[in-house]
């Protein structure tokens, strides 16, 4: 394909899978995705695009690659769906490989471009269709596929066993008692107000973060529970390959647990894509117009308990801090002002990135790029040049990132580009800086 020049990257999930496909399978998948599943907006969007180029400057991949036109959003659509339509679906395996590379590793589905398109074309939707096509054929980065296979059978991203979940929470409960007197973490409590769901990583590799979240829950005095069975992990990584079948299975499970326990709200820790999936992508696929039970993000929860005085910040963060606006909670859901309220409560010296809020740049790891694993680390580091420049310009040594993906992505950017800064979650900062009520002090 003319103008599309990339360093070769080998990914078993893409390359080996494509080797095993035949033309009939590819044809059938194209028919299914484009004729049976895609809605009318797919054709309208494709026909409406005037190639005006307004989207180009909005894309961090385009800017980070010295304005290489093949990274412009409209080009990415042209190089994938446009190519597919032009060839009337008669594509070669090399075409499919290019589609997968663009869709999974050169577009984070951040939707910044949509804000600059004079026609409001949802380019991320079009790229999502390419991911869906690849997903139907089983063509996706190996590391994402591994997580999706885990979700299919265990409803979590890490093949965690049921006993490991209960044991982990009870172990964390024991540990918490060094800091919170008689800490107790209810599991499967009926009629609690809040069902807390967590990120799979928090149960395995990032238990200190989970401890901090639980510490905040206990200090705030809210009535909460965690599930005592599968469905505790909200991550739903199947969104990345638009595996609708797994996405809906997982989201259905979350709302089923919530309705069975009769909680009033579901709360998730700091994550972007899962929030979007549960509120929009998966919810709609299941037939809901909106979340059937209120589904709130940690940012909304922290804002609420600070405003209501349920927790108090004892001492503020002194170092200069800046803030990453995660696309899926700020651009998609408008949590920017609440996020800033929390950050201003926490930090003495807060400086905005420019641009920010809904115009902020993606961390370059979103939409599954960080989950695509080591083969694609270089791609997200390259695509993140704009982000690291933004961070450097603030002069901040602390980057607050209330999203697992942003957190890991920016951590890697900081390390690669050797910037003197570090990244923190809100839960870590709040837990470190809040006042532990007298009644809870050991």
């Amino acid at each position: 394909m003319e103008g599309f020049v990339r360093k070769p990257v080998f990914d078993i999930g893409i390359d080996k899978t494509i080797e095993r496909l035949d033309k009939q399978k590819i044809k059938r998948a194209i028919e299914r995705v484009l004729n049976e599943e895609a809605t009318v907006r797919f054709k309208i969007f494709l026909e409406t695009c005037m190639r005006c180029g307004m989207c180009s400057e909005s894309c961090h991949h385009y800017l980070s690659h010295d304005r290489d036109p093949s990274y412009a959003p409209a080009s990415k659509v042209k190089l994938t769906l446009g190519d597919l339509i032009a060839k009337k679906g008669k594509i070669e395996k090399a075409d499919l490989k290019r589609y997968a590379r663009i869709a999974f590793t050169e577009c984070n589905l951040c939707r910044r471009c949509t804000q600059f398109c004079p026609f409001g074309i949802d380019i991320a939707y079009l790229i999502s269709l390419v991911r869906r096509l690849c997903g139907v054929l089983g063509v996706a980065p190996q590391f994402i596929q591994d997580q999706v296979y885990s979700h299919m059978s265990s409803y979590n991203m890490l093949w965690f066993k049921q006993d490991e979940w209960i044991d982990t929470i009870q172990w964390i409960e024991d540990e918490l008692r060094y800091e919170i007197k008689n800490a107790r973490i209810p599991l499967g409590k009926k009629d609690a107000d809040i069902l807390l769901l967590i990120h799979g990583l928090e149960a395995k590799y990032m238990t200190p973060l989970l401890s901090n979240m639980l510490k905040i829950m206990l200090a705030s005095g809210v009535d909460f529970t965690l599930p005592d069975t599968d469905g505790w992990d909200y991550t739903n990584k199947s969104l990345y390959m638009h595996d609708f079948e797994t996405m809906t299975l997982v989201t259905k499970r979350h709302y089923e647990i919530a309705s069975k326990l009769r909680v009033k709200r579901i709360l998730i820790t700091e994550c972007g894509h899962a929030y979007r999936a549960a509120l929009y992508e998966s919810a709609r696929l299941l037939g809901w117009k909106e979340a059937p039970i209120p589904f709130i993000h940690a940012v909304e929860f922290f804002y609420e308990i600070l405003v209501q005085g349920k927790i108090k910040i004892a001492h503020k963060v002194k170092e200069k801090a800046t803030l990453q606006d995660p696309c899926n909670i700020v651009r998609y859901r408008g949590l920017g002002p609440k996020l800033r309220f929390i950050v201003r409560q926490l930090c003495e010296d807060f400086v905005e990135m420019t641009p920010n809020q809904e115009y902020n740049y993606c961390c370059s790891s979103g939409g599954g790029m960080v989950d695509a694993g080591p083969p694609w680390k270089g791609a997200r580091i390259e695509g993140g040049k704009v982000k690291i420049e933004q961070i450097k310009e603030t002069g901040a040594s602390l980057v607050i990132a209330p999203c697992h993906t942003c957190h890991k992505g920016i951590e890697d950017l900081i390390e690669h580009y050797k910037v003197d800064a570090h990244v923190k979650f809100l839960a870590d900062l709040i837990a470190e800086h809040m006042e532990i009520p007298e009644r809870l002090r050991p």
Binding site: D146, G287, W288
Partner: protein, 400 residues
């Protein structure tokens, strides 16, 4: 009438969720002392302990108190003061049959996983077991089992399928990507489950035999009788109800799930979405007129199979719909509908502004209380209320 002062619990370092028996004469919890030792507490007194941990404390349908308990780092089942002889590395999903006689759980032994029924572990063990199912009389016990243990990232092996179902210590030879929705036939002779055959195809399996057709997606099946299994399946028309692999209801839906069957009259009720955000029930293929914007939970048949009730959510309030008639949608939460023995009356607990109320046929009869458990019909016209008021547990019989 029972009455237990719950303020005594405040002297303990901790106590867990309170559980009550169906007669209402016992209230139990797990209490903890300052050293972190756990004790089983019933009606104001500790009756056993100390244990390192106590999980899954519950009353069985016949009134026995059971729990999983940890001693010296190992787990076993505690039933009315008697421990199973064998201890395990872990024990969870503690359950009983409908009579409460048979007690079972998933257990971990020497790093492998299996099921233990009344203290006797199955002879087979597996790399993993998930979820536990028991038929009404306990004749059949099933769990999802992992038969292969491929390392992480082996996606082409995962695609071959690793999971199966084990029933009464015998595992199916077929392997699937995933299983969900295990259920038993009314006479407990057969077992069905939904399975994922490949990344993008699903079907229903009955006693290790797959339906001939596969589908884009399926949801949990149910037995209509010993030989007929119904299940929601996704086809190019949308979601449809199929029976034994063939269309059962005529129309398709935006969504179709939560099947409930009344086998004696071969009735099938399901929750359906007619379009995005328009939920209702479909009974024997006919949809109900009232629709709800947010949620309709599983249908409940009356004992005679004539009345059907479901919890609904609309405009951020909960209520009940009964045979197409909607109760007041004013509640912040509402419990499952409870039918009187002949099905003439429906009761439910409901909560608003922090107070719990007893509803019977859409009328508030009692409340507000600090908490209410689901009401129990003692007779057609007599209800037992079990609740908490002013830090005391109480029961009360009322005529309805």
């Amino acid at each position: 009438m029972s009455w237990v002062d719950l303020r005594v619990l405040e002297k303990y370092a901790n106590f867990s969720e309170l559980v009550v028996n169906s007669l209402g004469d016992k209230i139990a919890t797990v209490v903890e002392d300052e050293e972190g030792q756990r004790f089983i507490w019933v009606n104001g007194k500790t009756i056993d302990g100390p244990f390192e941990r106590v999980n899954f404390l519950q009353f069985t349908p016949n009134g026995d108190l059971i729990a999983s308990v940890q001693k010296d780092g190992l787990w076993t089942v505690w039933k009315e003061g008697v421990l199973w002889e064998e201890f395990f590395e872990y024990l969870w999903n503690l359950k009983t049959d409908n009579s409460g006689q048979k007690v079972l759980a998933n257990v971990k032994i020497d790093g492998n996983y299996t099921v233990c029924v009344d203290g006797v572990p199955w002879s087979h063990s597996f790399y993993d077991t998930r979820d536990l199912f028991v038929s009404p009389t306990g004749a059949k016990v099933a769990t999802y089992v992992r038969l292969e243990n491929y390392p992480v990232l082996e996606i082409f092996n995962f695609a071959k399928g690793m999971w199966s179902l084990a029933v009464n210590d015998v595992f199916w030879d077929k392997k699937f990507l995933a299983l969900f929705g295990c259920c038993f036939s009314p006479k407990e002779t057969r077992v069905a489950t939904a399975v994922r055959l490949t990344d993008r195809s699903f079907t229903i399996v009955v006693d290790n035999v797959c339906w001939e057709k596969s589908f884009y997606q399926v949801w949990e099946p149910r037995f209509l009788d010993e030989n007929q299994v119904v299940a929601p399946v996704k086809t190019s028309r949308g979601w449809e109800l199929y029976c034994n692999g063939s269309p059962f209801w005529e129309r398709s839906f935006t969504q179709l799930w939560n099947l409930k069957v009344f086998p004696e009259k071969k009735r099938v009720a399901a929750i359906v979405a007619l379009e995005l955000g328009k939920w209702t029930l479909a009974v024997d293929g006919k949809t109900w007129k009232p629709t709800f914007g947010q949620m309709v939970l599983e249908p409940h048949f009356s004992p005679d199979g004539e009345r059907i009730a479901a919890v609904v959510r609309h405009q951020n309030r909960w209520g009940l719909v009964v045979n197409e008639v909607c109760w007041d949608l004013v509640w912040e939460r509402i419990g499952d509908p409870v039918f009187s023995p002949k099905g003439g009356k429906i009761a439910a607990k409901a909560e608003k502004d922090g107070g719990y109320y007893l509803l019977v046929e859409n009328k508030v009869l009692e409340g507000p209380y600090t908490y209410l458990w689901d009401p129990v019909f003692l007779e057609e016209d007599t209800l037992l209320i079990r609740g908490i008021k002013e830090k005391s547990y109480f029961t009360k019989e009322i005529k309805v």
